[in-house]
């Protein structure tokens, strides 16, 4: 092991730095959480104080529950995020496998074409997308959002995953072919498990922008029954009055699922690949 790493003093310093960073990163989340449990006056008088018997109030949560269909918004966000991620990972991995594994005419051009989307923000095409959605009758459906987010996530997914798939041993795939596995089995059973950390990276990169997005829900699916959480929370932010209790409560509840998903994916990131297959 590296000498600097085994030195106890360095270890303390390293952990100190990491803990400090964690505290700084979690501080805004912490402030949102504590203030969501306080009454309006307490939020403004002492924003950093934890709620006590005097200042404790659930008024924000009550407002959120009463006004608007919060659980429906929540469900919409969840469906859009999970389905989009699934499609991005599935199609991204399949395209990446084809590009990295098979030699065919135009392979390189195809790879570049698919990667082009990384450089061009999808929002540039908003007007055209809206026209298309109107023409196909998909406005105010979750499908519209899922399609857009899948398109938005695919370029980077293909790019990252094909790079990782190139590193999967050819011998392993060839052993599968000799043992009579189909190309699909080789893809799903041999290759995907080995690029799991890369899949988790792609998932994390895509999840947060999708969950937090306000732009496309506002334009493509503003109807009451297709509102996402981010869009739904906007009702509490007015031009003249903002119901801070409600906004903070809604945000607190919106953070939770992302946090859970993040923990799931990052465990995959850390776990690493099962070694010992090759060499």
């Amino acid at each position: 092991m590296n000498k600097a790493r085994s030195n106890p003093l360095n270890k303390v310093a390293m952990h100190g730095a990491l803990i400090l960073y964690t505290l700084i990163a979690l501080f805004p989340v912490f402030v949102i959480l504590i203030n969501s449990f306080k009454n309006r006056k307490a939020i403004f008088r002492e924003p950093l104080a934890v709620p006590n018997a005097d200042t404790f109030s659930m008024i924000g949560y009550e407002t959120v529950m009463k006004q608007g269909d919060f659980f429906l918004y929540f469900q919409n966000s969840m469906i859009v995020t999970v389905v989009s991620l699934t499609l991005i990972l599935l199609f991204g991995a399949m395209a990446a496998f084809a590009l990295s594994e098979y030699r065919f005419r135009g392979n390189l051009i195809m790879g570049l074409y698919l990667a082009l989307g990384i450089m061009i923000p999808i929002r540039i095409g908003t007007v055209a997308i809206l026209e298309m959605m109107v023409a196909t009758g998909l406005v105010n459906t979750l499908t519209a959002l899922i399609l857009v987010y899948t398109a938005q996530g695919l370029p980077l997914a293909v790019f990252i995953l094909s790079e990782f798939m190139r590193q999967v041993s050819d011998d392993l795939k060839n052993a599968g072919r000799i043992d009579g596995l189909s190309e699909y089995t080789i893809f799903f059973r041999l290759v995907l498990p080995l690029v799991r950390p890369a899949m988790a990276t792609v998932a994390v990169f895509n999840m947060i922008p999708i969950w937090n997005d306000l732009w496309f829900p506002l334009i493509l699916a503003p109807a009451e029954e297709t509102k996402t959480l981010t869009l739904g929370s906007q009702v509490f932010i007015g031009q003249f009055v903002t119901d801070w209790n409600a906004v903070l409560s809604a945000l607190s509840m919106a953070i939770l699922p992302v946090l859970i998903l993040y923990v799931i994916f990052s465990r995959q990131l850390i776990r690493g690949i099962t070694s010992g297959a090759v060499k």
Binding site: A175, D179, L181, P193, G276, K279
Partner: protein, 332 residues
């Protein structure tokens, strides 16, 4: 019957012509070794035989059947890879049974074949372990076991020993030789190590730059190489090459002498100056210069020779090889 026949096999990757007009026959039960320097196309040839690469032109027959269009799993072959290529998420038993399950063999046959292979390879204790829990040598045996259980018509080995350390390599080499006897199966074995080729092969195929240079039994190739490349590639220490002009003025051929065919002699016609001596106990390798050309002589037994010493070397009767400018062998 022939286990494998290749006729005029060519393989190109785009502009790169890797295999050039390969013709070869492997008889049933024969142990054939492909040997050649790295990058000469050995693995590509093996992958063509396995069906992992298509030929660009030419025909492949396995057990008399034309298999150009047959997928790898239907060719009756099994392959052992240099990197082992075990399935990381399956334990040893499942690694070995996957192919049989794909072939829909009955459970009795599967169990019996696994037991048989595990016994042959001393893997009985490890059947429930995962590849990551095995040592390099054990992984290699699992990879071989995975090939054995299929009872293939033809075994293909791609440098199976090159990731093992020297001692283990020796043992595994013996095991593979023993396996070949027990199974009486046809095997093709790829290596860049001439000593593996010499010790294992019934028949050696020497490849260079995608061409077959020579095919024959180890001793045929050793005693009767068709060109300078084959002569220099087989044998260790390698054959010495000298301009024949240093013996007879005006001779523009190249003279080849194996190290063991040189001996110390008062009246020898090669005056040598010792550069370095390797005492191996049983043998002594003397590296000397003869008129500015480096020469290795292999003397039997132990000799008290030191660097800087000078003496004369002679060539054993009838042990000189001659090659022309292009490297082709000339009859003496």
């Amino acid at each position: 019957m022939t286990a494998l026949t290749l006729t005029n096999v060519n393989k190109s990757f785009g502009q790169v012509h890797v295999l050039k007009d390969i013709n070869l026959e492997v008889q049933d039960g024969e142990f054939v070794v492909f040997v050649g320097p790295s990058g000469c196309g050995k693995s590509t040839l093996l992958r063509v035989i396995a069906g992992l690469e298509d030929v660009s032109s030419g025909d492949v027959y396995i057990g008399g059947e034309h298999v150009n269009l047959t997928p790898p799993s239907k060719r009756g072959i099994a392959m052992v890879f240099q990197s082992y290529a075990l399935y990381p998420h399956l334990n040893v038993r499942k690694n070995m049974t996957l192919a049989l399950k794909q072939e829909r063999q009955s459970k009795e046959i599967i169990d019996q074949r696994v037991a048989e292979a595990a016994r042959m390879l001393n893997l009985e204790e490890y059947l429930e372990r995962y590849p990551s829990e095995l040592s390099g040598g054990q992984r290699q045996r699992v990879a071989i076991g995975r090939a054995i259980v299929r009872h293939p018509k033809l075994f293909l080995f791609d440098e199976p020993l090159s990731n093992l350390d020297a001692a283990l390599r020796m043992n595994t080499r013996l095991e593979i030789a023993k396996l070949h006897q027990q199974l009486a199966a046809s095997m093709i074995y790829v290596t860049h190590d001439q000593s593996e080729a010499m010790t294992l092969a019934d028949k050696i195929v020497v490849l260079r730059d995608g061409y077959v240079e020579q095919i024959g039994s180890p001793m045929e190739l050793y005693n009767n190489p068709v060109n300078k490349f084959v002569a220099g590639f087989l044998g260790s220490p390698a054959m010495n090459f000298l301009p024949a002009g240093i013996l007879n003025e005006g001779d523009d051929r190249t003279l080849g002498v194996r190290p063991e065919d040189l001996f110390l002699s008062e009246g020898g016609n090669l005056p040598a100056m010792v550069q370095h001596v390797e005492q191996l106990g049983g043998d002594t390798n003397v590296i000397a210069t003869v008129k500015d050309h480096q020469v290795t002589a292999r003397l039997f037994g132990q000799h008290a020779i030191e660097s800087g010493q000078t003496f004369n070397l002679a060539i054993s009767e009838g042990k000189s090889y001659f090659f022309d400018k292009s490297g082709a062998r000339l009859s003496a």
